[in-house]
Symmetry: C2
Subunit: 229 residues, 2 copies
């Protein structure tokens, strides 16, 4: 297994991608760069698995990575998809140090790593980084708790509609949204089956709320209608 380990080049690009580090001085970024390693993963390769010991923060510098979990009864659920600048592995860094989720490269990807020790050193040295991470964590927590409530109280149809409306938001209001993942992954993300998702989308289309364009794009024709479901 030959992963190329660079020592310098992509780091700079990668580090400056991460919002958390945005506010740092050049010299501080330089400091951090010295403690990072970059690794390349082929499409389909696992970056880590549940149960693995965690010892570093992984930052996606290029590519696309999916994070998923297995439930107690062994069913898979897609948790999120990472693009350049997103990071993962943070949870295990402050606690148990055992990953509870799986990270898999969806395409060939470059991942930048910062070891736990290095990170903690920076946190003590530059307290403002902590504040950034705290902010990031609290956003994630907010989002995750919202998601729990949604799963606990909304039916599948509504969850799909809400997902579509959030994609519109992400696109800055454009009514033509691109799906960031395959249908079966989306079904997993939304806690349903590909069959039900397919049926609901067809139904939405029949009702005139949306228009499906291939498998990867959807044009929203009546957002208000969708939200009233």
């Amino acid at each position: 297994m030959d992963k190329k380990i660079h020592t310098c080049t992509p780091h700079r690009a990668c580090i400056s991608l991460v919002p958390i580090f945005n506010h740092l001085e050049d010299c501080q970024i330089h400091e951090i760069m010295k403690s990072t390693k970059s690794t390349s993963y082929k499409k389909g390769e696992m970056i880590y698995r549940a149960g693995d010991v965690s010892d570093s923060l992984h930052i996606v510098s290029d590519g696309k990575v999916k994070i998923y979990r297995l439930s107690e009864s062994g069913k898979e659920q897609l948790v999120r998809i990472l693009g350049p600048g997103d990071f993962t592995g943070e949870l295990a860094l402050f606690n148990e140090s055992i990953h509870e989720s799986y990270a898999e490269a969806m395409e060939d990807s470059d991942i930048c790593m910062i070891t736990r020790e290095a990170l903690q050193r920076f946190l003590m040295e530059f307290p403002s980084i902590s504040l950034m991470i705290l902010s990031e964590f609290s956003k994630r927590l907010e989002k995750s708790e919202k998601q729990v409530t949604r799963f606990a109280t909304e039916k599948v149809e509504t969850r799909i509609a809400l997902f579509l409306s959030e994609r519109v938001e992400d696109e800055g209001g454009r009514m033509e949204i691109s799906l960031p993942m395959a249908r079966k992954d989306l079904a997993s993300y939304l806690g349903t089956t590909p069959e039900t998702l397919s049926r609901k989308l067809t139904e939405f289309e029949k009702e005139g709320y949306i228009k499906q364009i291939g498998y990867k794009k959807i044009k929203i024709l009546d957002l208000d209608g969708l939200m009233d479901l």
Copy 2:
């Protein structure tokens, strides 16, 4: 760290309850105490509501507080119950400053508050507090994401069984668990209805997995059986 018996304001007692502050020196705790205020709430009173502007961290020093959310379509879901030493309001502190959840006193409670400015000052001054909060946040995130996966993939029956087994863990393995909330709240927490919850528990009892003792206690007779559902 032995507790000295000096003029024990409620603050002092409250602050030292919080795991986050456990590792601090006396003088630091003293610093923090100066920035706190304590308020009492009657049973049923709201501590904050979704939409309220957030300006402080709330620490429960005495009593019981329930945190719940409303979903997009207006259904309520219980998120968690706080006891002495637990805190809330942290999410809004690092971001939007608007609460997205509701906090209601379930019984007469004393709440200690630290303003955002004071907290941020401490975080910059004592970076180790950040690490503690980071750790707390990552635990919560882990738990919340696990919860999402559970809702996304497990059926109600399984979620109830998993809840029971976690209560056993919380009780340190004792097979007689006490329910921390009323049936209807538990149903809301588990994303189901009181009717279904009641039916499932009766069913569990008929199958010999549990024995219900009044409305507030359950004796687990066959944990393995429950987990195989």
